[in-house]
Amino acid sequence: MTETQSFYTISAPPGMHGIKAWLLTHDHKRLGLMYLAAVLFWFFVALFLGLMLRTELMSQGKTIMEPELYNSVFTLHGVIMVFLFVIPAIPAIFGNFLLPIQLGTDDVFFPRLNLFSWYLFMFGGLFALISLFWGEGFPDTGWTFYVPFSVEVDTNVGLTVTAAFILGMSSMLTGLNFVTTFHRKRHKDMGLMQIPLFTWSLYATAWVQILATPVISITFVLVILERFLSIGLFDPDKGGDPLLYQHLFWMYSHPAVYIMILPGMGVISEIIPVFSRKSIFGYKAIVWSSMGIAVAGSLVWAHHMYTSGMSDVSVFIFSLLTFLVAIPSAVKVFSWVATMYKGSIEMTPPLLLSLIFIYLFSVGGLTGLVLGAVGPDIHVHDTHFVVSHFHFVMFGGTGFAFFAALHFWWPKMFGIMYKFKYAYVGSILAGIGFLFHYVPMLILGMQGMPRRYYDYLPQYETGNFLAGIGAYIMCLGIVIMFVNLALSFRKRVVAPADPWGGTTLEWKVPSPPPVHNFIEDPILPDFPYDFSGITDSVTENTDERV
């Protein structure tokens, strides 16, 4: 395949040139790349903010910023990471790029709506930016915007929740598009049990996006109404109940956790079999566990509220249900490990990152059980233990799955290979830094250091200092990783259509794919993970040429 026929050179709809061909495109692949650019921008902003937070905490008292700024920075870090990085990262970038190809079709069902979602995303980001510099400045409420503080405080809560509202709508419309594409544009020969697992995970995610996102939309509308009209629905003076805000908030935000992790799990389910040269273990179990997580994840929201003063019955039931979520997650981890067992494993950067994912995600999952059980949770609630737990899942899980996806599909998206050596160095540094960063935080939490505090007692100084060092090592690893990827543009080493020996449909088309994905009708294998025909090893294809 020559360069001239790729989607970079031909616009969709046809006849557009230059920047216009990007800004008005209906091509899901271009939109995926546009999301990539926007999401990476926000990721680095929030990463920098996070690093500043840890720097501030490295020593007691004031290190680099004032307490008020600290409160705003941790809110900003949370809001950006949640709404502008973790939620859109994998579905909006890789989902857009790959879902239609994996389903054997030319585009998503509503291409113009897809473009509209991207604009909503940019618009939401713009609102967040404006709220930084306008009026009383960025909120210091934490990303949860709990009432009554969020209603009473002077900072720009209204504008920021509007931003989150718009971003939620963008995410919901992407989900809508994916579900419709899944049902209506799938290749006519592709049965339900022949769909690649990444697409299955996106499908499960899309349902959560459609059904859970409106809850947060209405909750944020109520916060705005509360601020401007004092309707009193969450105000105890007027008969309201602030706990109901927390219920509504977590009714979305807990399922949102699965919007974040499910696509990551899908990525890992693609990578592991390819580099084990072995069919995925328990294909159907993984499909069902994806749907199971989507369902079970909607039943457990109040486990964020054990200490908030809700009823004991509720605490008991939600704790019990929380343990249920562990089952489908464990099914997946088991299947990944079983896939590698007796496989012909070929080490590559995506596989290394996937292995780091499995390890970190497992730690995150197991610490989650500690928090899901009421007794221990009351001890560690709102401490650094919680912060560490959800970073293990969100960052160690979704973040590393995102890096893995980037390294796995980079040749497909850009048609070039990167240098393995620096990718390894970056991944290992990021992984080690991650452990140095978050393990001390687990211990600090057990010792009783609260989250979101500007200052602490002397006995926590060692832990915080170590965590800060870990943060710097981790960020260094991430920077190396991305610099290496960026450098691949300079010395272009052309990637073949299938550099890894993958079997799903995206590897059957040229890298980068042509504008309508398939030149001719694709031939579907009976099973997407049949490696019997793959004999080349990865190194023969790529490493020597790098």
Binding site: L176, I210, K238, G239, D241, H516
Partner: protein, 198 residues
């Protein structure tokens, strides 16, 4: 890859959007349920303040408009363009009547100093205040949806007149119709929950 329009797919997309609308109102119904459980007597008292006649009239107006919208879809499928336009105009008229009624209803309440954060409500029973806050938020959001629905129906009307919506291509009208029925659907629940609580 295929040039034929996939009407079923477009309808699936619209339904998915409607689900998100249902859940949007669902969040408010969660609040209604929780507060009704807490203040049943006050909700009954609040309900008696509302005008049942206007509420029932609005219910009928919406039901009839739902019927005419459905009928206009039948008409367009049978290629009866004039009939379809007539039905749609009547539906829009119903929408206007609904909003005018709502305007007078809200106006009367606000005139009696019953609105969020008003003197009467702040100094009165908390249960009553919550009831009316919910009343304003839910009927307000519903009213907004009536307006959006009317805009969609008007767009469909223009497209029928200009020949963009025909017996072969009526997805726009179909989807606007679905949206309008959803507005009706929500009102069917709002009506007994606010006007008929005892």
């Amino acid at each position: 890859m295929h040039s034929q329009i996939d009407k079923t797919g477009i309808r699936i997309g619209m339904w998915l959007f409607l689900y998100s609308e249902i859940i949007l109102f669902g969040g408010l119904f969660v609040l209604y349920a929780a507060y009704f459980h807490r203040y049943p007597e006050y909700f009954a008292d609040g309900g008696k303040e509302l005008n049942r006649i206007i509420g029932s009239a609005n219910t009928l107006v919406l039901l009839i408009s739902s019927f005419t919208v459905a009928a206009s879809i039948t008409a367009i499928q049978r290629n009866a363009k004039k009939k379809a336009v007539g039905f749609l105009l009547f539906s829009l008229l119903c929408g206007v009547i609904f909003l005018v009624n709502k305007y007078f209803e809200w106006g009367a309440k606000i005139h009696h100093d019953i609105y969020p954060n008003s003197e009467t409500l702040v100094n009165g029973e908390p249960g009553i205040s919550i009831f009316f806050s919910l009343y304003y938020v839910i009927t307000g959001l519903h009213g907004l949806h009536v307006i959006i629905g009317m805009v969609l129906l008007s767009v469909s009307l223009v497209c029928i007149l200009s020949g963009k919506v025909t017996a072969e291509r009526f997805s726009l009208l179909d989807n606007s119709g679905l949206y309008w029925h959803l507005v009706d659907l929500i009102w069917i629940f709002v009506f007994p929950l606010f006007y008929l609580v005892l």
